[in-house]
Symmetry: C2
Subunit: 140 residues, 2 copies
Amino acid sequence: MVREEDILQKLESHQLRKTAFRKEVLELFMASEGEALSNQELESQLDNPDRITLYRTLKAFEDKGLIHLAADSGGISRYALCLADCTTHAHHDQHAHFQCRTCGKTICLEGEVVIRAQAPAGYKVERENLTLEGLCDECI
Amino acid sequence: MVREEDILQKLESHQLRKTAFRKEVLELFMASEGEALSNQELESQLDNPDRITLYRTLKAFEDKGLIHLAADSGGISRYALCLADCTTHAHHDQHAHFQCRTCGKTICLEGEVVIRAQAPAGYKVERENLTLEGLCDECI
DNA sequence: TTCCAAATGCAACGCCGTTGCAATAATTTT
DNA sequence: AAAATTATTGCAACGGCGTTGCATTTGGAA
């Protein structure tokens, strides 16, 4: 269970207005335990879901460093809560994601990620994106 | 320049019919030097491009192991030629991709890729997907 | 309470990708 | 080489994801 107080505090600290809608959305993220949620999944759990408002809410959350985008192989967007040290326009959590090829469930992976891959000379690498694909524990 | 003979041979060896359209599409891939091309980019270079036919052509190429999908951060599909040892339903080339955040140019990266990341116990990892993002030599 | 800026809800749009179906073209068979 | 078979093409229509513009409502500050 997520405490109302914690939700409000999180919105406040990220300079986001405490509207009913945003509280609902943030609660879903905080209750999802590191799972990345799609617009569709969020809509199905919301009270009075307006697609467009949800899109804009997620974009606002992302801009303020509250959530981050996790690549989905199907081309849709999935977001997950950032760790504590992400702030506005400064996402610091460089971690891998896992996506189940059957149910689409996507989670953030904890722990160390070591990547060795080289871009050609003259290229500038700014971010590394690692996604593991396979079967989750429920689809195996 | 790509030789007609090589195009036909490649289609033949992958059990694909040698139609005018497919020859055109394959030629674009063979001339692109490891760059991953989107439907849009292909359409703009084709003679008489039918969107739907192009989608199906790419799917056929992929099924037969001629091309592979490279993740695009914007959620669209980009394909690139496979290396020689890919065959029907058996893609062997596990390599990273680089995508420019400005122009979208996407290339296959050669060389070794070492990944250390752990999925939770009970999960089965089947594929690892590594994409580097940044600026290409022309956008820097 | 008043005011302003931000967030919401609605309508409309554009792009990516897919499906069904009839017409056409490439192989295979005789 | 013609007929039969099978795959491919082109077209129409559709659905989903995501965006933009605009009027209305709401949250927060003065």
